[in-house]
Symmetry: D3
């Protein structure tokens, strides 16, 4: 065999075996993926995310996708002659707007990802928060109309679908005790669902690379930090405005039992695979207190971290 061919083969083998300790660690666990940003609007990136999610499923992780609405909601509202208004980042949502929100999230965004995943087989099943009363909510503020605050997560249908071999894809519409729908924040919902499912990790797909030590220096991306460092970073006031809710959602998840939270740039093709199955990763990983902050993999077997299929 020629040397360059052999070199290329060895590189491939290195990539595959590099994945081994990461695959072992996550085997049989749940990973909640908050899907959003360009990955939701660009069909090529959506196909890449779909492929990554199927690969994660095949190598033993149970992905659960959570998403809100993208720019389509405002676009449709405008085309229907409705007023688009935000207060403190929250969409003012009257009953007519709520109907549009729901149609776009559940009938358009959700189904686009479901279909992309299902080009690989019979995998994805879309859910909205009112299916099997998955996301329960109540009104946050009368002035905001149908903007909701999550009161409970009922994981029954998600766990049943995972056990049946499916990939649940959840649109973040909440349902009240009165059976009415509420518009809930998707980052918050992803975090709450990760906690309720006792997920190993929650991953936020955004359009930025992660957290920077020095926001002006693109070379200062932080690959790994601890929960307390993340809490400090919020307090420091140096996070970009868009990053605060993401990091806050990460902190909430980690404080309630999730082991690792990741913030990724979804415009990098296959960012999910690269973050989860390579040593260096591509984004920022925040770890729960008590777990190693570094990305150094557990190549030496530590019994308490390995999750084998026969346990």
């Amino acid at each position: 065999m020629k040397d360059d061919v052999m070199q290329a083969l060895l590189e491939k083998a290195r990539t595959l075996t590099e994945a081994l300790p990461w695959i072992k660690r996550a085997w049989g666990r749940v990973a909640v993926i908050k899907y959003g940003g360009s990955a939701m609007t660009d069909p090529a990136l959506r196909a890449s995310v779909a492929e990554d999610i199927v690969l994660m499923k095949l190598v033993g992780v149970n992905p659960v996708v959570v998403h809100g609405g993208g720019p389509d909601v405002s676009m449709y509202m405008e085309r229907l002659g409705m007023t688009v208004e935000f207060r403190d980042g929250l969409r003012v949502t009257d009953d007519a707007a709520m109907e549009v929100v729901k149609m776009v999230l559940v009938g358009k965004n959700n189904k686009e990802l479901v279909s992309a995943i299902n080009t690989h087989g019979r995998w994805a099943v879309g859910l909205s928060g009112d299916d099997a009363r998955l996301i329960q909510a109540r009104q946050l503020d009368a002035a905001l109309g149908r903007v909701g605050q999550i009161t409970a997560i009922d994981t029954t249908v998600v766990l049943n679908l995972i056990e049946d071999g499916f990939i649940p894809v959840v649109a973040t519409v909440g349902v009240g005790d009165d059976g009415r729908s509420y518009n809930v924040n998707a980052d918050t919902a992803a975090s709450a669902i990760a906690v309720a499912l006792d997920a190993e990790k929650v991953i936020f797909l955004t359009d930025v690379d992660g957290l920077y030590a020095d926001f002006g220096d693109k070379d200062s991306l932080i690959s790994a930090l601890s929960l307390s460092e993340a809490v400090d970073s919020i307090a420091s006031g140096r996070l970009s405005k868009g990053m605060v809710p993401k990091v806050t959602a990460c902190v909430h998840a980690l404080e309630n039992g999730v082991e690792r939270a990741h913030i990724l740039n979804g415009t990098i093709p296959h960012a999910l695979l690269l973050e989860v199955y390579t040593d260096a990763g591509v984004g920022t990983m925040i770890t729960r207190e008590g777990l190693a902050v570094s990305r150094e993999p557990d190549r030496v077997m530590r019994e308490d971290e390995v999750t084998c299929p026969n346990e």
Copy 2:
């Protein structure tokens, strides 16, 4: 106890025990309910249908609801400035229209019934045909755009949800091998799903009472007829135009293994319960060849028809 009180009690007891042979016969079987007409647009009727479906579930039947879109599709298309056009009863559906069809069916109509059912507990899970590749379709005619013809039903997710104790509610959007969506006829889909699930019955909720012996005479409603009589009635040309596709869907279901098909007036409150659990019923029941045409119940036990929980 006073006589009139006792009479009222006996009447109640008679109604409950009248249901016994019908409950026994359907125990553990699937009933596909094609939901449409006024029951879909009128909130009070929707609540009544939801209550009936939960009661059916509680007394041992496994209801699967199938629905298309109602007048909301055209309404939204018009508000969005799209042209609404039908050819031979089929909606001309370009890509933009397909997106609206899907948003209305999956994000609005489906969720309205799901929420109504779930006021009674954690029962309903909404599905569209692309979830787990449930309804597979291909283009019917290029001139009609995304109007589809069903090529296969994959019942996996429906059966899993039934086994997990849920009530599946299916919006009739089909998915192609290319991952694109198709607008499929809801009556046809209900019939195909009933066949694929080996359902005991398929029920069409419409706005008419059923079939009439003499269309002009409202007292001539036919309570029960055989499959061959139903086939003849289509051939006779005496059916109303709206009734032909319903009866055709019934015939298809019965010729492929479903035992009973029903056409009901969904404007009668609790029409489902009355048709399924009373001796007289309220609509028209068509039975497969080999089964008794009459509504006379099996009050004498016939081993081969009883489905007990311990079988």
Copy 3:
């Protein structure tokens, strides 16, 4: 449709939907039915009880029937030339009498109800307390011979039969550590079995309507009262003699975890169905502390009380 026909239909629908919250509440739970009085001796009432029990089974409750002997025991003893003697309401039972008690309870009374139930299918399985050591007992008083006091309930065979889809019908013969049989009180046994099975309810079928506020006033039937009120009623001395052991058995059950106890008049046809599946009921219901005393149904969903099949 004619108005009077429609009215009759609506009445039927009202009865069926009135049952919904009660069916939901009891779904999957055990109901112990103490069978006795005229319902045991009158074949028509026995058939009515049998029909009610099968309907309860079909709508999701797990009925367990418990019965003692009726007048047949004394009748057969007299025909066999034995002396029939009671002391403080307890039958003096020598060995020969015990053999007759057992033959009548297990070989006659039990099988009559089993056969009545099984005209509806393969449902009932008769048991006596020595089968799988279900009712364990010891001698109460040497002077009374084989009259026994319950020492333990072994629910294994009852739970297995329920899981296998059957309706257990238990004759209240107790078995001692020595393998000998004992004559145990059927009301006490029903209460003990309800406690051991963690039943939702225990129902006493008698020949009176229930408890009266004023024993002389037949209009003063108490529809619902609390456990503490029931305890008071025993202390008050105003209960009829025959009612004291029933109410005492109810109190024992409720103090040990059963949620509701009912005393019904079994001479009312379908009294079981009317008590369990209608809002007003027909007898007296006593509720455990902490549960609502009123019969007002839970039409608004309260998660902690609903028992869905998918929980």
Copy 4:
């Protein structure tokens, strides 16, 4: 160790290991035991049979006991002033007699054996043919009243109880489609139940040693014979009158799939164990065509006959 002690030990070891091939062969299979004769009336023999049955259960066989009534039926009928009459060996059974037959079989004989077995633990559960419609029958001859002929065996409850770890003990009362009871022949019922359960063997406990080559010569007991030899022996007319129905029942069982039928003298203590777990046996064994007639055990492993627990 002293020689005689060692000799006694070796003898014990020989007995235990002699049982090994027989235990292997029957592991996990059903053995139907027709219980009758002195073993039913003599408490000491009953205790011995009970001990044998529990030991069989513990070493992996699933015993199912079947019994009719003994002399107690006639005794009670006479004490109650009824006429005892037989025609061609069949008891003339009017309705009143049927009630007595049932009380004695189900309430006395059945429970005596159940209690004897249950001194060893929570093993036996008594059944009569109307429980779960186990033995279905119809009238044989109007002149004989309630004498019945078996029409079907429904093994559901028996199989469920075996799976749940119990020993079913069946009193041979049949039930008609009309819910009425019939007096059926116990030998015939044992054979029919063995066939329906696909039993490995059926064993008839009687008061004679088995079949003799020469009826006058007590040394001529036939230890093993083939099905065709058994058929011939009936045709020969040389069988004793009491033996004809037993051998006929054996032949019926073997012609319908049971592998071995045994006729034993139940007055020999532990006759069951000795017949089933020793090389020589104590009675007469009849084998299905295709199986070895001789009692020579399979000490060399033959895969197709061994039933290991892990198959």
Copy 5:
């Protein structure tokens, strides 16, 4: 039947029924058998042990066999020109010696017993301590080389094989965290495995009869003693040198939850069966505190000790 034949039969029946209380007590429990001594080197004794083990399996016990190496290890080492050296009873084991130890234990001794058992069917599966990381160990003393001390027992594969119906046969090779093998003491390993499996009993097959009250008097064999008496006997210094590690292993097992420990003379044919299924036994039984020391069987049922298959 002739008297002497009947006497022989009764003797056999007595032996079989004598086993009943012992079979009941051990049903479904694990018995760890330390296999060693002459039973390992003599093919006839090995066959006898194999037969006993299969019989124990068939009558409901789950045997797990544990063994070290016999004289074969030294023999092969000498033939290969290696030095055989012991210090304080421990074999000095360099890497080359370890390879030989492993080949002999796993490839020879283990397979000889596996094959002997499997002449009776598909029962035995050989394991060494590195299979599924069953016996985990670390170096005891650098001067002894690869002599190991047990650090953990991982029972997963043993429990899986038992559940699948097999008889595990374990060679006592330990595995370190570094993946290297260690030579561990077989008596200690048997005791540790019995504790880890929550075994009912551990049995040491040796070449002596058991413990003697007076070592010089062969008639003074102690049939049964308590744990505290066993502890005292070690302290007394009167035990033979070879017996100290056996009794110490027994004490460790009993102090950690095993109920009974036995020391037997494996040169007595079928010593296992005789010890386990006869009233007198053949060796010395030591019982955990709280259990009866005497061998008197529980012929009277005591619920808390009986383990029935249906519990």
Copy 6:
């Protein structure tokens, strides 16, 4: 992110996603790996194979490893002073030699791979052909002594271990009906086991790259060929002598239901992963008739080939 970093990341992503269709195709299926050659003797290659096998297990394949002995057998025989002799490639094996063969295969070669795999967790369980009578054999030729021919494969223990989550590693010692061991060919055994397990593939790890179109031209390696082409290649006489038994074993497997057979060079690190999870592969793949010969992956979903976890 810098361009070269991004390029490297994209390359990694490409490698991971390239694996997707191959992972999907093999999901849940068995792959039998014949382990031999340098991979068995070189510790570094052994570690590489072990890592590949664990990765295969983690991504959903069920690997079963089969191996014979390497040069160690002859080495130990010579050290023990035995004569090493081969006739027609078969080792003359007297009883003493058989003992050595077994010790080396089961106690050394098998355990070396088991330990290497288990550095990654509790995965591997070693088996020899006499465990649970897995490989059954008889003497091939008296002149060759204990050389055996396979008569049957009993897959029970292998399937049980797979279901319990383990990786079985099988040493190819056969067992006769007489319980004696036989030396069977490892290539033949691998093929027979693959057939018996209905494996998706069988892989032969050797020290050559595969089949060459022109044996003298190292660039002429055949990447993929059909079963009939493989049959022709044997007939052609152009195969190297060592390759004939490998290709013959492949042909046998493919003719009996295995879908793909692979011949790989085990001296290439991670050859297993590269062959199984890359498009080009590194060895020679032979496919059953009816399957595509080319290595072109099924990137377009074909329902009949995809094996999803939820099927």
